[in-house]
């Protein structure tokens, strides 16, 4: 029996801070065979990324490996000098990072950056370097690499940049590639392409890989074996199929139960038996008479224009300066939502779904067309465009950004209701308390500031703020996209419950089709500012008509 390619035993990586030691990696052991892809799964803070950086010897101070061993083909890496480690990095072990926008240097050409990486370990002439770079780009399926090699990163799309990063990581045919959330920042369709290509490359080049991700489904689709991390420890490891079918650790089970794709649509996620029956039996309390065209969007267009200055306009007249093109974010969209309905708005980045959501909520004024709620316009139809109604409220994607860091959450929740006479300054405390309870938060936390809460708690606060305005419609703009799966499940459950209790109408914007399927009655698919398909959730997922919708659905990584 030969030794595995990479063997990690009892690895501890700690961060010494003033407040105490953080054991980011707390005694993990695993191995990686030749030609194998190992999936490393965990939620944020589980230590999965730190594990990756420990392997390649790039732990930023004050962190350090305090104990354990990392053996690459029997050679111990933990105590190597910086110089020796550098010789290994890129040549024997290399790494791909999460966000390709941040990893490539914006002011250097791809050729420059690749040549630097080549010369880190080899001596070669400019011509040789160029040939090698072109070859490496071709290998990651970049079309026309002879031209593209001279491009700057900003001339590539996100998926292309990640391909370039992968090409750099593969330049020296390393034995191990560590991929740290390499597809998280990308659209599903691009992610699907990258996954296919990486699988092919692994087979073609015989490289071994550690694929780090928070997403069980992507990991399952690429790796034979997975390891689940929680709080710096590996809680479960085994063949992907086995772990997903019959998890032995309760945490793995919890992660799986939290996935909307594994639950029946509309049911509470991760709920105990019986809970769901009670939930389903509960009738909609806030139900009111039906109103089929409650929210209507008619011929909505949103153009973002570059206003030329005085001289710019003269320049345009004279033909010296080219006028900048207006961006058509939303291009002639019409839809309607019935009272009490949950409409899913699906699309990839740049589809215009967020812009449409902001128009429905009265944040942006449509350039053309009109948006009405129960027959009345949402915004005043003038240049200034004041919002007229308080009946539409919004929940934003990033709960870290959507709460004013300098106001207590109580102040944030109460400011709207006070301004619009839903409560008085004197009664504000009890009013806020009521809504905090509605989102299962202790009313005593009203005097705290947002930074004292976790992401999930903040999103609850943001929901409470929206609810406190007693809206009939809530626009949810990717409300769970920046949350961990287990937290995501809690927020989705909360939205399901609240919707039922308060009879809310939802416009739910998401790139995540499984979430939409779980929560929504009807789905609208957007692509480049236009609606390409619309129908009940059932129909869209069973029998998609449009090619783009089909492609999106096929791109979703599936669990086994």
């Amino acid at each position: 029996m030969t030794a595995p390619l990479l063997e990690v035993t009892d690895l501890h990586t700690h961060f010494e801070a003033r407040a105490g030691t953080v054991k980011s990696v707390d005694g993990i052991s695993f191995h990686l065979e030749r030609g194998e892809v190992l999936g490393l799964v965990g939620e944020s803070g589980s230590g999965k990324s730190i594990t990756g950086f420990s392997l390649i010897g790039l732990i930023d101070r004050p962190g350090r490996i305090v104990q354990g061993s990392i053996k690459l083909e029997g050679r111990e890496l933990v105590d190597l000098s910086e110089g020796d480690l550098r010789k290994i990095r890129g040549r024997e072990i290399s790494m791909v990072f999460q966000d390709p926008m941040m990893t490539l240097n914006p002011v250097l050409t791809v050729l420059d950056q690749m040549t630097m990486a080549l010369r880190a370990h080899e001596r070669l002439s400019d011509a040789e370097a160029r040939t090698r770079c072109v070859e490496a780009l071709r290998q990651v399926r970049i079309v026309d690499p002879e031209q593209k090699v001279d491009f700057y990163p900003h001339q590539f799309s996100g998926g292309m940049r990640q391909r370039v990063a992968i090409a750099i990581a593969l330049l020296h045919k390393p034995k191990v590639v560590i991929a740290d959330e390499p597809t998280t920042a990308l659209d599903v369709s691009v992610q699907a392409e990258i996954l296919v290509e990486v699988k092919a490359l692994v087979a073609e080049l015989g490289i071994s890989m550690i694929w780090i991700s928070h997403d069980l489904a992507t990991v399952a689709s690429i790796s034979k074996r997975i390891a689940v991390m929680k709080s710096g420890k590996i809680v479960e490891t085994g063949p992907a199929a086995d772990v997903l079918r019959a998890p032995t650790h309760p945490y793995t089970q919890l992660l799986l139960d939290a996935l909307p794709s594994r639950a029946k649509p509309g049911q509470l996620l991760g709920a105990q038996a019986g809970e769901n029956e009670a939930f389903q039996a509960n009738d909609v309390k806030g139900a009111s008479e039906p109103y089929p065209e409650f929210v209507t969007v008619k011929g909505a267009v949103k153009r973002f224009e570059w206003k030329s200055g005085f001289w710019g306009r003269i320049g345009e007249r004279l033909g010296i300066v080219k006028p900048r093109k207006a961006v058509l974010a939303v291009n002639d969209v019409s839809l309607s939502i019935a009272r009490g309905e949950a409409l899913g708005l699906v699309g990839e980045s740049g589809s215009g779904k967020s812009t449409l959501g902001r128009m429905v909520c009265g944040i942006y004024r449509p350039s053309e067309g009109e948006i009405r709620l129960a027959g009345a316009p949402v915004m005043l139809d003038s240049q200034q465009g004041r919002k007229l109604t308080t009946k539409v409220q919004m929940i934003f994607q990033d709960p870290f950004a959507s709460l004013d860091p300098r106001r207590t959450i109580g102040q944030s929740i109460a400011e709207g209701p006070i301004a619009h006479g839903l409560t008085t300054r004197a009664d504000a405390r009890s009013y806020v308390a009521k809504w905090l309870e509605a989102v299962s938060l202790d009313p005593a936390v009203a005097d705290r500031y947002p930074h004292q809460f976790s992401g999930g708690q903040r999103q609850r606060v943001a929901i409470a703020r929206a609810l406190a305005m007693r809206p009939e419609v809530i626009v949810c703009d990717e409300p769970v996209a920046s949350l961990d799966v287990s937290i995501q499940a809690q927020i989705l459950n909360l939205l399901l419950t609240l919707r039922k209790e308060l009879g809310l109408t939802l416009l739910f914007i998401s790139h995540d089709l499984s979430v939409v399927r779980h929560l929504c009655d009807r789905v609208v698919v957007m692509y480049r500012g236009k609606i390409v398909e619309e129908g009940t959730t059932e129909d869209i997922f069973r029998t998609p008509q449009d090619a783009y919708t089909r492609m999106l659905l096929e791109a979703i990584p599936r669990l086994v």
Binding site: R18, E43, S44, D60, E181, T184, H214, K307, G309, R358, C361, G362, I363, R386, K387, T390, V392, Q393, M394, F396, Q397, D398, F400, A401, S402, L403, D404, P405, R406, R407, S412, E415, G416, A419, H420, Y449, P450, H451, Q452, G455, A462, R465, M469, S482, D484
Partner: protein, 296 residues
């Protein structure tokens, strides 16, 4: 899966972090001490340097430690007119600080209002204001201050106008930058979507969040206003001789420097440097602590 937005630490955390750095803490203490010395100068100074009756020509240009007609030790020596230098420095600090703080406060107010208004209103107004500010910022502050001071003539209020004129643009730009960054944040959109009024959003949301960088600029600008005032007084376009700031003391002592009577020029200079240095060290530390890009 990491949140990209910046979480400001609580104010407690901010001070706890600040107190961990001994040099800035010492500098902060020095600033407070200097302000106290300046405020209580009439009580501390052994002599009123403007009371011409108490000046004795026989005491002029005496070295530190000399006991003069007043019967007390001139610990820093005396100047060309027999003034106790220590007293003169305390009174000089008063004037220098007064100028710096007043000019800083006025420039701060103008800058915060104009800058955040430009960011909120946007459009042509924003473009016009920022173009003007950029144009002005491309000229050195000292040149602008010098020209304005020379045009207006000597005097306290004239000097303050000159200082404000040369510095307000920094505040406008900083306030505009901070407010423009805040304007695009989700929490402002969230408030606008309630809907809250524009006035409420600017005063309760945008301004409080745009304030920290402005405060950092303010500390640096107060220090540079003090330095500018000293330079202008040194060049003879600052304050009139009846208002001897530190710069003026240095300037009048300059002629004695080469003849070995160093103290007349050096000690006011040391006082000036300690003041500016202390303010800058505090400002530097605060800036580092507020820089989101340095947080890991």
């Amino acid at each position: 899966m990491t949140a990209t937005s910046v979480t400001p630490r609580s104010s407690n955390g901010f001070w706890a972090e600040f107190l961990r750095h001994p040099v800035p803490v010492a500098a902060a203490i020095a600033v407070v001490a200097i302000i106290l010395l300046a405020v209580f100068a009439p009580l501390i100074a052994p002599q009123d340097p403007y009371d011409l009756a108490s000046l004795v020509l026989r005491d002029a240009r005496r070295a530190p430690g000399y006991i003069g007609q007043g019967g007390y030790i001139h610990i820093l020596g005396t100047d060309s007119q027999g003034r106790d230098l220590f007293s003169a420095i305390l009174y000089g600090l008063r004037i220098s600080l007064q100028m710096g703080l007043l000019a800083g406060a006025i420039a701060f107010t103008i800058g915060a209002l104009v800058g955040s208004a430009a960011a909120y209103v946007g459009g042509r107004f924003e473009a016009l204001v920022m173009r003007l500010v950029d144009l002005q910022l491309s000229f050195p502050a000292i040149l602008l201050a010098f020209v304005v001071a020379a045009l207006l003539g000597q005097g306290k209020s004239q000097l303050i106008v000159a200082l404000v004129f040369s510095q307000y643009a920094y505040f406008v730009r900083t306030a505009h930058g901070a407010a423009a960054a805040e304007r695009n944040k989700d929490y402002v959109e969230a408030a606008l979507s309630v809907p809250m009024s524009g006035w409420f959003v600017v005063t309760r949301h945008i301004l409080p969040n745009a304030l920290p960088p402005l405060i950092v600029v303010a500390t640096v600008q107060v220090a540079s206003a003090i330095s500018l005032e000293a330079t202008l007084s040194f060049l003879g376009v600052g304050l009139p001789p009846t208002e001897p700031s530190l710069g003026m003391l240095i300037s009048t002592g300059f002629q004695y420097l080469l003849s070995g009577r160093y103290w007349i020029s050096i000690y006011p200079g040391v006082a000036l440097i300690i003041l500016i240095l202390a303010i800058n060290i505090v400002g530097d530390q605060v800036r580092d602590q507020l820089n989101p890009r340095l947080k890991k």
